[in-house]
């Protein structure tokens, strides 16, 4: 069986992974993730109006027009509506980025107040802007517990693989799952993909799960090869090549379907949901890369070593031990 060229490229795959992971770790330490969707820092402009405005949709529309015009230059990123039960007023909260100029905010506040007073002389419209600093410590415990949970989960999954397919497969699977989880998180740090603070761990979990599934598909073919008398004597490289050739289509189809599912769901969903679903394609892509390129190259030396070890420690039959004759008593 002809060994494919990609199996010989282990140093290349390792170099790529090492470069990405190291860069990711450095950038995570220096900058962290791009958690701009969580609005860690920024400003809000809060416009509240009483029932005299609320009762007439045309007035509400006019007030929103005044706000939009005044806030045009400050860069509104989002908007959240509500009801202030303390003031008994309807509330519009415009969300603004941290680099917003305070002078512009004050000017906008003044403009909205003046125009609203002119447009609704009998109405009560209040405008205030606030500086917001999110307290990120709230994610500390979920983050470390999530990392522990993921590690324990993957190790238990690999113990099962170890029992079913051998320790060598479990070892490669462990390397792949750990690689995919870290690689995915590193890519988020490097590419500065906007994400919610809770999301990188979730994406790492998705990557580890896909990694295990894709590796399992190859393990199944390896086991088939081991069971088949015609293929049992294959060298490690040939057995891995057989498993790869028998499973790459399944892996590619499963990855393509999963990516398509996330793409369609993300495409249709609302903007906030899209921020989670579209980046979820990345862990699937990472798991596919590692399963199709890194896994076979990595498993050849592992399998070779384990095959040698098994051959060396193979129990051999030396025949039935002869029963020792009882010593004859000396007369």
């Amino acid at each position: 069986m002809k060994t494919k060229r990609i199996y010989k490229l282990l140093p290349v795959w390792l170099a790529i992974s090492a470069a990405v992971i190291i860069a990711g770790i450095i950038l995570t330490c220096l900058l962290g993730f791009n958690t701009s969707p969580d609005r860690k820092k920024g400003y809000t402009v809060e416009v509240s109006y009483d029932v005299s405005v609320e009762i007439d949709p045309a007035k509400v529309e006019k007030l929103e027009g005044i706000c939009d015009a005044a806030l045009k230059d400050v860069g509104v990123t989002d908007r959240q509506d509500g009801y202030d039960s303390t003031l008994d007023m309807t509330l519009i909260s415009y969300i603004l980025p941290a680099d917003c100029s305070v002078e512009k905010l004050e000017a906008a506040q003044q403009a909205i107040t003046t125009e609203a007073q002119t447009a609704f002389p009998d109405g009560n419209v209040r405008v205030a802007y606030h500086k917001i600093d999110n307290v990120s410590d709230i994610y500390y415990e979920p983050t470390w517990r999530g990392a522990v949970a993921l590690t324990v989960g993957v190790v238990v999954g690999l113990i099962y693989i170890g029992f079913r397919f051998g320790v060598g497969c479990a070892l490669t699977g462990l390397c792949l799952a750990a690689h995919d989880a870290v690689f995915t998180v590193a890519l988020f740090a490097i590419a500065r993909i906007p994400t919610y603070a809770y999301a990188p761990l979730l994406f790492a979990t998705i990557a580890a799960v896909f990694s295990l599934v894709f590796w399992l598909l190859q393990c199944m073919k390896l086991r088939d090869a081991k069971k088949d008398p015609a293929l049992r004597s294959l060298e490690a490289a040939d057995a891995v090549a057989y498993a790869w050739e028998g499973s790459w289509k399944k892996i590619a189809i499963l990855a393509a379907v999963s990516v398509a599912v996330f793409a369609v769901a993300g495409g249709v969903a609302a903007a906030g949901v899209r921020l989670f679903l579209l980046p979820a394609m990345l862990p699937v892509a990472v798991a596919s890369y590692s399963s199709l390129l890194l896994a076979p190259a990595l498993h050849i030396p592992v399998k070779t070593a384990f095959d040698k070890f098994s051959a060396k420690h193979k129990p051999r039959y030396f025949g039935k031990k002869k029963a020792e004759k009882p010593e004859e008593p000396e007369n």
Partner: protein, 512 residues
């Protein structure tokens, strides 16, 4: 299985799926009275606060949640200052009020208490504020509520957002006042609050020497308790201080945090246990209310730095103001768009199965619907599961797993049939070949997911649990339900190969 039995099974399966679909997706008129409509199960499942959708009486549920702004003692908002000033008659009092508060940034500060000679916020105030902020963050962090958010507003005020939830909204909003209590824990004993004397701690000692902490417990009939544990020293002191209850007939223990009484416990005998199980028979605790109270007591009893060290002899309070109901951040229709996305994917999946496998698509349709309906019923019955982006992703991934497993079996059966076997033999062989492959895939994913769920918190926990549960259902559906459906549906056709869109491979004889 004979044709008649298959027909009965198919009719039963159809009826069950139809009935469950009605319960899960269709709102039914109730026919008068105070209840006008039975809402479908899907509306009863708790939703992520960021996903907006309107349902309930008068569309009362719209996603989002509640925010409250906490102003430290001696600090007020610009709106409050303006309102108070406008409400005062012209005169010395108004001038005094205007003089008392100075604007720094967007907030008004009591100049005498909180500002220095240069009009800047004093270091003492900053230390008190930071202490209060840390306590508030710690308490909410321990609640482990998804989507909770705490912001520092205008440098020295705090704003907390708690998500609206169909079942727990009241309990969570009550934390606004409960968690604003600052100060040390003190246990007082007496016939009434005014005359009660301090039982714990003794003068010059810390409450941590007497109280180990607080937790929650639930008994068999669902009553929730706050459990307060005492050290042996605390137990002995409490026993000696409450010993006179036998003479007076009754007494009350007051658990106070700073100036606020959080528990008033009537007792009729001396307390000699090292644990107190406290319930509220007149207004029973909900699980969340008991949890909040236990967190408050535990955080004050085990505070690394006692409040008295930071506040000195003064009190320091956080005043809850500006409580607002906020709409869902992602918009009122975010959940509807998610349902539409799911619908599009469902149609795409079924088109693939019907085009590729002909009428065998019905087998997958029945199997998938059963999987989906059971998943929805579980989401509804498990109170800790919400419809969120995480759980949505988990259902999508499990759906991919189920569809892939079904497709793998169908493809194997197709190959067997093409090789010349009968459909029945092809199906049998396909399942025989694929059983352990599908089993391994599902058991590994479910195992990893459930273990992750057991350790992780919030979003990851919800995602992992749903992935584990759905994978379990997917495994059962792929290996048992799908095969059963295939067996009963195949009974009604004589052209079984055509039913499955399977074709024989035509082998041309080479004739020399």
């Amino acid at each position: 299985m004979g044709k008649v039995k298959s027909a009965i099974c198919l009719v039963l399966a159809t009826l069950i799926i139809a009935a469950l679909s009605f319960i899960c997706f269709v709102a039914l008129p109730a026919g008068g009275g105070s209840i006008t409509q039975f809402d479908p199960v899907v509306t009863w499942i708790d939703k992520d606060a960021n996903l907006g959708v309107e349902y309930g009486a008068n569309e009362s549920y719209r996603g989002g949640g509640y925010t409250a702004t906490f102003y430290p003692e001696g600090v007020i908002s610009a709106a409050e200052f303006t309102d108070n000033l406008a409400g005062m008659p012209e005169g010395a009092e108004k001038d005094e009020y205007a003089e008392k508060y100075k604007k720094v940034g967007n907030l008004y500060y009591d100049a005498k208490e909180n500002l220095d000679a240069n009009g800047k916020v004093t270091e003492e105030f900053i230390a008190k504020f930071n202490y209060a902020k840390d306590r508030l963050v710690e308490r909410y962090e321990r609640m482990n509520i998804e989507n909770i958010r705490i912001d520092v507003v205008d440098n020295y005020a705090l704003r907390v957002f708690v998500p609206q939830s169909a079942s727990t909204a009241t309990a969570y909003t009550s934390t606004f006042s409960l968690f604003s209590y600052m100060g040390d824990l003190e246990v007082r004993y007496g016939s009434d609050e005014a005359s009660a004397t301090t039982a714990l701690p003794a003068a010059g000692k810390s409450i941590g020497d007497y109280v180990k902490g607080a937790a929650t417990a639930t008994d068999g009939d669902g009553t929730h308790y706050v459990v307060i544990s005492f050290t042996s020293e605390g137990k002995d002191r409490l026993a000696s201080r409450t010993a006179d209850v036998a003479d007076s007939g009754s007494g009350t223990l007051f658990f106070k945090v700073g100036e606020n009484t959080v528990i008033s416990l009537s007792i009729t005998s001396a307390i000699e246990d090292d644990r107190l199980y406290i319930s509220n028979p007149s207004s029973p605790f909900t699980a969340e209310a008991a949890q909040a109270l236990a967190i408050l007591i535990d955080s004050t009893a085990n505070a690394q730095v006692p409040a008295s060290e930071v506040f000195g002899g003064d009190t320091f309070t956080l005043n809850v103001d500006s409580i607002a109901t906020m709409r869902a951040l992602y918009g009122d229709s975010a959940l509807v768009y998610m349902y539409i996305a799911f619908g599009v994917l469902f149609v795409a999946m079924m088109v693939f199965f019907f085009v590729r496998y002909g009428l065998l698509g019905f087998v997958h349709l029945y199997t998938y619907l059963l999987f989906l309906l059971v998943t929805l019923l579980c989401m509804w019955s498990l109170s800790f599961i919400t419809i969120s982006t995480g759980t949505f992703a988990a259902v999508l991934l499990a759906s991919v797993l189920l569809s892939a497993s079904q497709a793998i079996v169908y493809e194997n059966a197709r190959k067997e049939y093409a090789a010349g076997k009968t459909v029945a033999a092809a199906v049998k062989n396909a399942y025989k070949k694929c059983f352990w492959h599908i089993f391994d895939l599902h058991i590994v994913v479910a195992g990893v997911s459930f273990i992750t769920y057991a350790i992780a918190l919030t979003q990851l926990s919800g995602f992992a649990f749903m992935l584990g549960l759905c994978t379990l259902f997917s495994g059962i559906c792929a290996l048992a339900v799908g095969r059963f459906m295939w067996a009963i549906m195949m009974r009604f056709t004589n052209k079984q190969g055509k039913f499955c869109n399977f074709k024989r491979v035509e082998v041309e004889d080479d004739e020399d």
